[in-house]
């Protein structure tokens, strides 16, 4: 085996899959390590129905990537596995991969490493205001996405919710939890609100927000939702949610009228933010990568995401910063090129 012609990719989400595909198409071997048993990362694990902003089915974006990775001879996939340790030799890395289920240990030699370990959703039960996990019908956007995928949005008692509220920035932009913006939750929540409106046309939907941050072309979601789907926007924050035994009493302030409101909702959806997951923390420890004050992997120069600051190790996707699927795919591609460039240099095929 040519030790200078294989690349380790850690994480099989959008970034990792795209990186694996690109590297394999260059004729390099890929060792793809995924902690979960399924390929596809967050969009597959949480059954994303469609992707913002154009309602493209998730399978249409990730399906071809997953199929390619599964069927390509150059790509070796280790699912349910983590990278346990690594050792840097002169022009290659010795990698030890641990299978979490069978406890089997595999050794590989690679010339470059791409870290694409992604994110986890914020656990809303950390913030006691919303009573997530205690009040029925207070759910996260990830749970709602599963409901939308199944084509049925229902309350815990099987009834169809008529008045639904979305609370933005849960576990985001908040010093007591996570101070960063998750960048996609506004767009994703609005996308979901439109999808609910399509499933339950007579529902009333309220978005309780601080700011709407639908960046770039995602802005059209915001416009569409107001103009074509009659979704209401309330500027303010929610202080408390009570379960009355039948409905949820939401207390908050409408800052545009400078008045507190108390309204009953059938269902509340929390736009939970992104945070670095266990996988990212574990890999940072194993590879000795620099981590910023928020726990995300820290590139050498903040504006150049792929450069980890360590020789031969490249970063891609939401382990560096919160980002959308389209950005993660782009970053995967960028990191793949860097990894190939690095490997070619090591093999003295390139100056």
């Amino acid at each position: 085996m040519e030790k200078n012609k294989s690349v380790l990719v850690i994480g099989a989400g959008p970034a990792g899959l795209q990186a694996s595909k690109d590297i394999a198409e260059f004729g390099y071997r890929v060792i793809l390590v995924e902690k979960n048993s399924e390929l596809g990362g967050a969009p597959i694990r949480w059954k994303y129905h469609t992707l913002a902003p154009d309602f493209v089915p998730t399978e249409k974006v990730l399906g071809p990537l997953i199929d390619f990775v599964k069927n390509n001879n150059l790509i070796t996939v280790y699912t349910d596995s983590i990278v346990e340790s690594y050792e840097q030799k002169e022009d290659f890395f010795n990698i030890k991969i641990l299978n979490l289920k069978s406890k089997g240990v595999y050794n590989e030699k690679v010339s470059a490493i791409i870290v694409a370990t992604g994110f986890e959703h914020f656990n809303a039960s950390v913030d006691p205001r919303y009573g997530y996990g205690i009040n029925p019908n207070v759910i996260g956007i990830n749970e709602l996405e599963v409901m939308i995928s199944n084509g049925k949005v229902l309350r815990h008692d099987g009834k169809i919710p008529k008045r639904i509220g979305f609370i933005f920035c849960v576990g985001s932009r908040d010093r007591s939890t996570n101070p960063w913006c998750c960048t996609v939750c506004c767009g994703v929540s609005i996308k979901q609100a439109i999808e609910i409106k399509k499933i339950i046309p007579d529902s009333q939907i309220y978005m309780i927000y601080m700011d709407i941050r639908t960046v770039g072309l995602w802005e059209k979601l915001y416009w569409q939702s107001m103009e074509n789907y009659h979704i209401n926007y309330i500027r303010g924050r929610v202080g408390e949610i009570y379960w009355t035994g039948e409905k949820l009493l939401v207390k908050g302030e409408d800052t545009l009228v400078r008045g507190p409101f108390e309204a009953l909702f059938d269902m509340i959806v929390l736009a939970v933010g992104m945070e670095p997951g266990e996988g990212t923390k574990q890999i940072a420890k194993v590879l000795g990568l620099k981590v910023n004050e928020y726990g995300f992997l820290s590139p050498r120069i903040p504006n150049i995401h792929y450069d980890s600051g360590k020789d031969g190790i490249f970063l891609a996707g939401a382990c560096v910063a919160p980002m959308s699927v389209e950005e993660a795919i782009g970053e995967g591609s960028a990191a793949a090129l860097q990894a190939i460039k690095y490997s070619m240099r090591k093999a003295k095929k390139m100056p």
């Binding site: 416009w223 103009e227 009659h230 209401n232 409408d254 545009l256 009228v257 507190p260 108390e262």
Partner: protein, 152 residues
């Protein structure tokens, strides 16, 4: 006579701390109140009604949308450009096109009752409609609201 009335108005709720934040309508101060032989007149019987918005009522916005110049009210995202260019709003603080659109959109009925006497101040100069980034046509909406508030 009018002087007397003014005095009465001033006395209403005068023991409330930070009185300026409480609207007169929300203060109930009975002149004479007898509870089981105990005199609870004046400040002893004082009740301040809560100012909590209890519900959203979208019946009004549907009416506005039916009127030819009110049909784009839903596009409003509350940037406030209409109010900032409005020459009337600079004179009369209770005239605020952005705010009118919002309370109608959310159906805050008590606010509508309070403010409906100001909507007619719109001169129809159209500066707001020219400025509006989302083509809501606020001056048209004001016209539609005038028609509607007559009925409310």
């Amino acid at each position: 006579m009018t002087e007397n009335n003014n005095e009465k108005e001033e006395r209403k709720g005068k023991y409330i701390i930070e009185r300026e934040y409480v609207e007169d309508e929300r203060i109930i101060e009975p002149e004479k109140l007898d509870i089981g032989g105990v005199d609870a007149s004046g400040r002893w019987g004082l009740i301040v009604l809560p100012r909590v918005i209890k519900d959203f009522d979208h019946s009004l916005i549907d009416e506005v949308k039916k009127l030819p110049r009110g049909k784009h009210i839903e596009r409003c995202w509350q940037c406030g450009l209409c109010t900032s260019v409005c020459p009337v709003a600079h004179k009369e603080p209770n005239f605020n096109p952005r705010y009118f659109i919002y309370i109608v959109k959310m159906g805050y009925k008590s606010e509508i009752k309070k403010l409906k006497k100001y909507v007619y101040l719109c001169q129809g100069c159209g500066l707001c409609s020219e400025a509006c980034p989302k083509h809501v046509d606020p001056s048209g909406v004001m016209m539609a609201l005038n028609i509607l508030f007559d009925k409310v």
